[in-house]
Symmetry: C2
Subunit: 316 residues, 2 copies
């Protein structure tokens, strides 16, 4: 491996290696019905944050690079499987700037190619220790549970912050947790030690997701890549709307019945201290994430810490 | 285990044990969006032929009964996963006499619960040897390929018998092959020896599927559980129609352009020796299936042979 001059260079290097490994996943030519959409998905402009995290965690634990790459690619395939199926369920039309599989082809094609991506992820895990296989699938089940909860929560305005946190923890946090945990397991850490790394990723994912809800209202449209308030207008649950409803259900009902604008939302959240409460929750999960790194030797925590900062500053 | 008085009693006993084990698969209560359809599917009236075959093969190889039950349940979950997703893709409305998941709920629910069934199958494999995990997923990929080919073949009247055999081998045969193979692998047979058992199941599956196409025309409606000729009328490829087209493309085109009745089909297939050719192909695969059993000690082949007879006589 070449000398690494900075964290950012290291990330760029890892991303390049991951792209190369993704292109080497053994994928047959036919049947094209199954494999063309899989190739289409894998050549999309994903940020590869999850496989990068597998490598960073594994490097902090002196894991074997070849094993790390297998786990990293398996995680990226798993992530893409869940995106392809979630996009059907959520009716999303674009992903990474290109049409989703069910838009480009049809739903049957998207169901089958999603399945294929997941099977490929299992095949790539072959040869890694059984605990890796087990945790990989336990977390996949949690991701399915998170998606199930998300579907249940649509149009349910009685969801509490506690339920919401469990949902995003399973749907988004658990997979980041798995990435960090796999690096530790492949570095020979036992299950309990490795669990601290799961906590790192899980809590980082929670902080990120709540921050995302926050930026939807208080952010900058050009950085967000979508218009402010779009989730709220679609009636989706977000951390801020749940906090506001939890705090003053009647006031919130009155407020939302008047088709508020984004600046109305901003004023409401500020006046009712929802903004500061949201910031407090985000910082709570950031602290918990960083505490998960304490099992790593001090001098090896640096890249993991910088990864957290990169994620939270959306510099990727 | 109680004394077994006959093959049929043994099958009944195994089916009962499999049903009990299926009810013990650890399935959470919530989210109900994910788990209710899974419970609904598993309580359906499946014949459990695949897990029964895992046990029979494993018993012929003196495998550990607890390991066999894990593999048997994993295979049954895998089978149900593929049925739930295939039923969406094929627009089928009933399965084992009850509405399919996407009919009873909706497509999103069916996609997610299918995914969940597959993840559960992977979790149940935990602790079994890596080769079991690997073969399980290699065959699952073949099943996905078979479904992809089947979708490609819809409305394509240039499919040859060779292509059709590859498709049904992947879509139907490979999973039966896996069942027999897993019993051998869990009984300590090496990969090459176990492959003979894969060949047994694969070829049995091919014979069964071609026979199914045959019975569609020459069978008895009450035994078939569907009206004769329904696949042909829907424009599906069947072994007999492909054989007929391969033999005399122009004659076949002329014949089918006149909306033939079932008795017209019967006369055509008899007059053009398609019936005898179909029987020859079926017997070829039955012979190949039975040859796969030759690696088993003579006195232990009996139940496997009777299983093949049961399948081919549709006595289940």
């Amino acid at each position: 491996m070449p000398a690494i001059s900075s964290f950012q260079d290291h990330i760029t290097f890892l991303k390049g290696e991951i792209e190369k490994a993704l292109m080497k996943v053994p994928i047959h030519e036919t049947p094209r019905y199954l494999y063309e959409p899989i190739k289409y998905v894998l050549s999309g402009k994903g940020k590869r944050l999850r496989p990068i995290l597998v490598h960073l965690s594994g490097q902090a634990h002196d894991a074997d690079p070849a094993d790390l790459m297998k786990a990293a690619i398996a995680v990226e395939l798993l992530h893409n499987f869940s995106l392809v199926h979630d996009d059907i369920m959520d009716g999303d039309e674009t992903r990474h700037g290109q049409p989703t599989v069910h838009q480009q082809w049809d739903e049957s094609t998207a169901i089958l190619s999603g399945d294929g991506l997941f099977v490929l992820s299992q095949l790539i895990l072959s040869g890694l220790p059984p605990i890796v296989h087990q945790r990989f699938n336990e977390v996949t089940l949690a991701v399915c549970e998170g998606q199930g909860m998300d579907k249940e929560f649509e149009h349910d305005s009685s969801i509490t912050m506690g339920q919401y946190l469990i949902m995003i923890g399973k749907k988004t946090g658990a997979l980041l947790g798995l990435c960090a945990e796999l690096g530790a397991l492949l570095g020979g850490r036992n299950k309990e030690e490795a669990h601290h790394l799961f906590e790192f990723g899980l809590n980082l994912g929670l902080a990120f997701q709540i921050q995302d809800d926050f930026l939807e209202i208080f952010g900058d449209e050009s950085t967000m890549g979508k218009s402010l308030g779009s989730d709220i207008r679609e009636g989706k649950q977000t951390a801020l709307t749940i906090l506001a409803r939890d705090k003053d259900p009647k006031g919130w009902d009155r407020f939302t019945s008047n088709s508020p604008s984004i600046s109305d939302y901003q004023s409401y959240f500020e006046a009712n201290k929802i903004q500061s409460e949201g910031e407090r929750v985000i910082n709570h999960y950031i602290d918990r994430a960083r505490r998960g790194l304490e099992v790593i030797q001090k001098e090896k925590q640096d890249h993991m810490n910088q990864f957290a900062t990169m994620i939270l500053n959306r510099k990727f």
